[in-house]
């Protein structure tokens, strides 16, 4: 491709679905992406999971959204990149695969980008808060959520592997569009 058409399905965790449906049907898209993550969604999920470990670690709207769009995206050979994996992209991917089976969508390739291993105990680290310069170790008891930001590399890898749906944990917002662009246009990482 020399020109890539990418549609933004959602810009936050609670966005409604209608614009995504319109984009898929009329946008002549190559890719559809969902941004569905923020500081507040992540810390809120961590707190809910601490209170009830059966709460899924990924976007509870994943099923509702993809159930409505997956078939149409498949028919149009349109790929999906989404950060709805939140804290548990693997479980999110399993749900999508299950959904595809139920809906008779055969041969759909779903990729999960895994969150990097992260020390859950930063009590010994010398990391500091950017804003205040104070050691994180001093306030570790009140830390609710720790996440690493990934970029576009893993998304590109997944697309190179032929994925139709790429589900990520926390990535920079731009990666959701940058991934497809790097993949399709063959951009170098130092371009």
């Amino acid at each position: 491709l020399t020109r890539v058409r990418i549609g933004c399905a959602t810009a936050w965790s609670g966005d409604r679905l209608d614009p995504a449906t319109t984009l898929v049907e009329r946008g002549r898209l190559d890719y559809l992406f969902f941004d569905s993550m923020s500081e507040t969604t992540m810390s809120g999920t961590q707190i809910r999971r601490a209170e009830d470990p059966t709460v899924p670690g990924f976007d509870p709207l994943l099923e509702y959204r993809l159930r409505h769009l997956l078939g149409e995206c498949r028919a149009r050979r349109l790929k999906i990149v989404t950060n709805q994996g939140w804290l548990d992209p693997e479980a999110a991917a399993r749900q999508v695969i299950e959904m595809a089976r139920e809906d008779g969508l055969h041969g759909l390739k779903v990729a999960a980008v895994l969150p990097p291993a992260l020390a859950t105990d930063l009590g010994d680290s010398d990391l500091t808060f950017t804003e205040t310069g104070t050691p994180i170790a001093d306030e570790i008891a009140s830390v609710v959520s720790l996440e690493v930001y990934l970029g576009a590399r893993e998304i590109v890898e997944a697309l190179r592997g032929g994925a139709d749906v790429v589900i990520t944990p926390r990535v920079t917002d731009a990666s959701l569009t940058l991934g497809p662009l790097v993949h399709e246009l063959g951009w170098a990482w130092d371009d």
Binding site: A11, W12, S38, E39, T40, T130, E131, V144
Partner: protein
């Protein structure tokens, strides 16, 4: 010169990190970027958000994509996760900014 709400010339994209809100104001037409550059100044943005700001406003210019990015330091009463305001999100604040009147020719 007539005055129009900023949202006639621009749309916005926003985000929060800690106690800082980022508001990107993006010209709908590249030709309107000059108007944004002239009218959406640090002082005017600071004036809009004066009641909630505890830190300085910074402006970053991105003329080739017709955009200005504002960092509103200390706009969230410590951070979004602990803020008790109803309109605590960058999205709400960006909508407030787009209501700001700007002067255009004609």
């Amino acid at each position: 010169m007539t005055e129009v709400p900023l949202r006639q010339l621009a749309y916005a994209r926003s985000g929060e990190k800690g106690d800082c809100v980022y508001l990107a104001v993006i010209a709908r037409e590249q030709s309107d970027y000059a108007v944004l550059e002239r009218t959406v100044t640090v002082d005017r943005v600071a004036e809009v958000f004066r009641p909630i700001l505890t830190g300085p406003v910074e402006r970053f210019e991105l003329p080739r994509i017709g955009a200005l990015n504002f960092a509103l330091n200390g706009a969230l009463d410590g951070g979004r996760t602990r803020n008790l305001a109803f309109d605590e999100s960058g999205k709400a604040l960006s909508s407030r900014l787009l209501a700001m009147p700007v002067a255009v020719d004609g």
